[in-house]
Amino acid sequence: MSGFKSFGDPAELLIEQGLTGIVGPNGCGKSNLVEALRWVMGESSARGLRGDEMEDVIFNGAAGRAPFDLAEVSLRLRGPVPGPTSLAPTAADEIDVARRLGRGAGSTFLVAGQEARARDVQLLFADAGSGARSAAIVGQGQIGFIVEAKPQERRRLLEDAA
């Protein structure tokens, strides 16, 4: 990713098998990293990313740096993917998903190099159960939701798992 929130320098994270830990002091960017994943998977709510508008995710500068005009996150998934459905409609073993947001322009999504709509990307990930809104991404402070939620909201989690 590059230009997403506090990531003024390009960063790349390889998520391998098993348990990968993300550590660091307060405010250094760990949750921003998690939000970058949710964003590229199609998160459509600015509030869900702690912003007032979606452009809040574009790096807005720091002590020695000017703001960016573009935020970009890409995700490469390699199969085989666990779960009842394959992530890619063509059952390919690898798929690239990318999202770009320029100031004054909307978001652009790319799936396997082809332009796609936010909805397509959300469905792509919802199918494998790890999308921006499914039970598989728990944001900071969100774990209480399951217990505090209204029974109707909780039932929807069950529907996603069905």
Partner: protein
Amino acid sequence: GRERLLAAFDDVDGHFRRLFVRLFGGGRAHLRLTDLDDPFAAGLELDASPPGKRLASLSLLSGGEKALTALALLMALFLARPSPLCVLDEVDAPLDDANVERFVDLIDEIATATGTRFLVVTHHPLTMSRMHRLFGVTMVERGVSRLVSVALDEAIELRATA
């Protein structure tokens, strides 16, 4: 549709009961659908009693107990329908050491069993010590995040810098 939701309910409920007992070292819990004839309009209720306690209502549970119960349900939904990726941002914050240990044992096992890749953001040294690899997010240049591979002792050090 209805059949599949009820089947998912049984599946998730089965996992949930087992995971609750595992994470709490006893006690009992279960899920309830408020309407079996029209499950898509039903509420998903949960009842939970930590070992040795008589619980009047879920709200009376402690902060750590609520988080642990939520994790049991989250992982139950997960086992019913695995995802390629599961991201947890500081879910261990309210947990004491014994519960952190049980939580990490559980996701370690799930990672092996389902092939799911876990991304775990944490401040807890115990959690860090159980990760298969660690990445530190730092802001050496103020306001600009950087991602760097770190060893356990460096990770523990990172908590103390700011």
